[in-house]
């Protein structure tokens, strides 16, 4: 009995020591210029019609090409479409296509574009993450192999922001709707600069496509590896197990910056985090919040600089309106309407609006004696947002507003939002290059979370979507932001940054995209294409 035990223990020990001896072999990746990127999330599926994970979108950008791509300033540049023109009435777009081949050797033709767009316009395709790019397209014609003519019902302002991946008709045409929605696409074939290599439980490897029609990339292979917590990601970057990391947190930034040979950045991402206030007419939330004066007073009570420093450790920009400040569509509130931290101003507004503390408990009441007491929900596993809730609470009490902070998981919160059974909560939205995407979330039709409805905002939303003249469109988009800022159903308090890092001792050729943006997840593949091993 004891002998047997000893044998087992010994053999386990041997296995362990054998594998220790192997540790030297991990470095072989350098010779083949393989870049390993640690991500905090893993691909949900390789089928672009059903995928929703952000990292899946990143991978599709490399495997598949759209008609038009984004350069390092996020301006539109030719990809599968060599050139394009739009008719006088702005309703007919003619795209001239490049000579490209699918990664399985088949030629790429205009029929592939027609097929793909029709797929994404169908019931199953329109429910995908690319579905909304194509709304408004009425007809697609292929006069020859190299030409696609697209007719829209109304002018389509976001036509060149359309990043829908073009899929090969010869592979996808055979599927019915049901099959497409369950298709695993285990060996995706695209026209893109990288082709599918290998998929394991935690990693996906892409290999350089040698016959790419454009300028091929320098790096032979990219591997995306999932790390389930960002501390491990940071450690793996230090040891050189990975070459780059996508989703680090601010706490790791200083630690990594102190290390030689690592570039770590805090880059702007499109999107914002907001305090969302229930203004729904027949909602269950505290009706006092329907008074815009109260919402403004709360905004004045938020010490946004302190919040940015304390909760986000400085990684971000103070928030104001729906679109990021670096974006040309951004509207910056003028000095006289800007609501920055000012308790006196908050007190003044509340005094003027008739909210007075009559019973001397430090909390103001409305004319019926209802106290200004609101619940604020943060999502429990988001440490920054939970902290920010406390900062809002601390500011509000100075103006006689009581805020009770609670936390719950996102599922539970969502149920309360749907029922409009909440006072205030904190969460954020991610955006896109085209401003229409983020403006959509406050339209009445979208069923927005604060239950807000503004006829002028809705009207402008429809109008800007069909305005091709950029200056005119900017004017409309800015007016929309102004309306939303004045009405304050959202109090946008931060544009938070993403923390990413690359081993600069091994790699070069990358930069922040756009100027203050990030290395990855920036809607452009420029960094993947220009990356070089040292």
């Amino acid at each position: 009995m004891k002998k047997k035990l000893l044998t087992i223990v010994l053999s386990i020990g041997m296995i362990f020591s054998m594998s220790i001896g192997l540790s030297g072999c991990g470095d072989s990746s350098e010779e083949t210029s393989q870049m390993v990127i640690g991500t905090g999330q893993f691909i949900d599926t390789l089928n672009p019609v059903t995928a929703w994970a952000m990292v899946s979108g990143e991978v599709f950008m490399l495997i598949y090409d759209p008609l038009v791509r984004k350069d390092d300033n996020l301006e539109s540049i030719p990809c599968l479409a060599e050139s394009w023109e739009v008719s006088e009435d702005n309703l007919t777009w003619t795209f001239t296509l490049a000579e490209a081949s699918w990664q399985d050797g088949e030629p790429f033709t205009s029929e592939d574009v027609k097929f793909t767009y029709e797929l994404f316009l169908s019931d199953v395709g329109s429910a995908s993450m690319y579905g909304s790019y194509l709304t408004g397209i009425e007809d697609i014609q292929c006069p020859d192999d190299r030409t696609v003519v697209i007719t829209t019902s109304e002018p389509k302002a976001n036509m060149l922001q359309n990043s829908t991946p073009i899929l090969p008709e010869h592979i996808w045409a055979d599927f019915g709707e049901d099959e497409i929605s369950t298709f695993a696409n285990e060996n995706p074939i695209g026209t893109g600069p990288y082709k599918f290599g290998e998929l394991t439980d935690t990693s996906l490897t892409l290999l350089k496509y040698e016959d790419y029609f454009g300028t091929p990339g320098n790096v032979e292979a990219y591997s995306f590896v999932e790390y389930k917590n960002s501390d491990s990601t940071a450690q793996a970057l230090k040891t050189g197990e990975i070459d780059a990391a996508m989703s680090l947190n601010v706490a790791q930034m200083d630690d990594l910056a102190a290390e030689d040979g690592i570039d770590v950045i805090s880059g702007e991402v499109l999107g914002f985090t907001q305090l969302c206030i229930n203004v729904k007419d027949d909602g269950v939330g505290n009706h006092i919040l329907k008074d815009v004066d109260v919402r403004h007073a709360i905004d004045y009570c938020i010490d946004k600089q302190n919040g940015l420093d304390m909760a986000y450790l400085g990684a971000g920009t103070i928030g104001t309106t729906l679109i990021n400040p670096s974006d040309k569509y951004h509207w910056e509130p003028t000095e006289d309407v800007l609501r920055s931290y000012d308790i006196d101003k908050a007190n003044e507004i509340l005094d003027d609006a008739g909210y007075i503390d009559n019973d001397g408990d430090g909390i103001r009441e409305d004319s019926d004696g209802n106290p200004l007491e609101f619940d604020l929900i943060s999502i429990a596993d988001n440490a920054e947002e939970v902290k920010y809730g406390q900062i809002i609470k601390a500011g509000c009490i100075d103006a006689g507003i009581e805020v009770n902070c609670t936390t719950m998981d996102s599922g539970a919160l969502y149920d309360q939002i749907i029922a409009y059974d909440y006072d205030m909560f904190i969460w954020g939205w991610g955006s896109d290059v085209d401003p229409g995407v983020i403006l959509n979330v406050l339209t009445t039709d979208y069923g927005n979370e604060p239950g807000w409805s503004n006829a002028r905002y809705d009207e402008l939303y429809l109008k800007q979507a069909v305005t091709l003249d950029e200056d005119e469109r900017i004017a409309m988009v800015q007016e929309m932001q102004q309306i939303a800022y004045e009405e304050a159903p959202y109090i946008v308090f931060v544009y938070s940054n993403t923390i990413q890092a690359i081993r600069s001792d091994k790699w070069e050729g990358y930069k922040m995209i756009p100027e203050n943006g990030s290395y990855f997840f920036n809607l452009s593949i420029e960094n993947y294409m220009n990356m070089k091993s040292k």
């Binding site: 929703w52 995908s128 394991t200 439980d201 590896v225």
Partner: protein
């Protein structure tokens, strides 16, 4: 007599699984949170998209229709389609089950062997420095926070000594010379999670073994054996340890039943592709089919482990049969 006992226990096991299944089904639907909102919280999602996806997963049907469909499909061995992974639940679970079984199974085996050994040593040397040392070690490791120990192991062995990789089960994108090289790569990745997990488990086994063995050593038949002039070692091996193993079997069986559930924290620290983190992810995404599949698996393995313990007991402990 024994046949009747086994039939009875089998019936109990089947009924338990069935009740737990119904309970799970209801539980997940009482939980607040809508799976669709989790999949599609995106500024590009329109109400029409939500309706389409809802119909695709059958979420537009009333709950009793979904319930009946669930049971019908399950009897055909179809556990449904995961909302998040868009592929069959059986497939998703199958890819994660081996890593979990390997990592936790190995950790359990090491912990059981080392734990029992430490327990025996401590009990046999009651009151000495060896006993106090073992007891101290067991108590400290038993109460150690999993995540903390994991991070310490990572910073010592991966960042400091650089002898083990930080996470994952395989080096990504490597082409291996052969099956053997790939196996070694997996082993190399497994060492740290397995050692960490077994350190955390040893305490429970050592403490239980020590306490039961000390009780047994007080029994009259041990005194009798001593009086007969048997050596201390012989008494320990032939009289004391076998009798002290009975409660150990219970603990081992319960723990082995839970192995399948994975270890969320260890899997998170070491980015191990196991069932524990899969469960956590599917819960936060309200991925009903996947959750049901995972809970069914765990239910069956716990019930099975208990069932086998009952049966084993009826053989090794004559009192249980009645």
């Amino acid at each position: 007599m024994r046949r009747k006992f086994i039939i009875k226990k089998t019936m109990y096991a089947i009924i338990t699984v069935f009740i737990v299944l119904i309970f799970n089904y209801i539980l997940f639907r009482i939980l607040p949170g809508d799976p669709l909102s989790m999949i599609m919280r995106n500024p590009r999602a329109t109400p029409e998209m939500v309706d389409t996806v809802s119909a695709l997963y059958g979420l537009d049907k009333p709950w009793y229709t979904q319930f009946i469909m669930y049971f019908q499909n399950m009897l055909h061995g179809d556990l449904g389609m995961s909302f998040v992974y868009k592929s069959s639940v059986t497939g998703v679970i199958a890819t994660k089950i081996l890593p979990t079984l390997w990592m936790l199974g190995m950790a359990e085996i090491i912990a059981i062997i080392v734990g029992i050994f430490l327990g025996i040593v401590a009990a046999a040397n009651r009151g000495t420095k060896i006993d106090v040392g073992t007891l101290g070690f067991s108590l400290v490791t038993y109460s150690m926070p999993t995540f903390w120990l994991g991070i310490i192991m990572v910073s010592v062995f991966c960042v400091g000594l650089r002898i083990f990789p930080v996470g994952g089960m395989q080096s990504p994108g490597m082409s291996f010379a052969g099956e053997g090289a790939q196996l070694l790569d997996i082993l190399h990745h497994s060492v740290l999670p397995i050692i960490t997990m077994s350190i955390l488990l040893i305490g429970e086994y050592a403490l239980t073994m020590r306490n039961t063995l000390m009780d047994v050593l007080e029994e009259d038949y041990i005194l009798t054996a001593k009086a007969k002039g048997f050596s201390r070692k012989y008494i320990l091996r032939k009289h004391a340890v076998p009798n002290a193993m009975l409660p150990m079997i219970t603990i081992i069986a319960i723990n082995l039943g839970l192995v399948i559930g994975g270890a969320i924290q260890i899997e998170t620290v070491f980015s191990w592709p196991g069932l524990g983190s899969l469960m956590y992810e599917s819960l936060s995404a309200r991925d009903y089919p996947l959750l049901q599949g995972l809970f069914l698996l765990i239910t069956i393995s716990v019930v099975l482990a208990n069932y086998l313990t009952d049966i084993t007991y009826s053989y090794i402990d004559p009192r249980v049969k009645d």
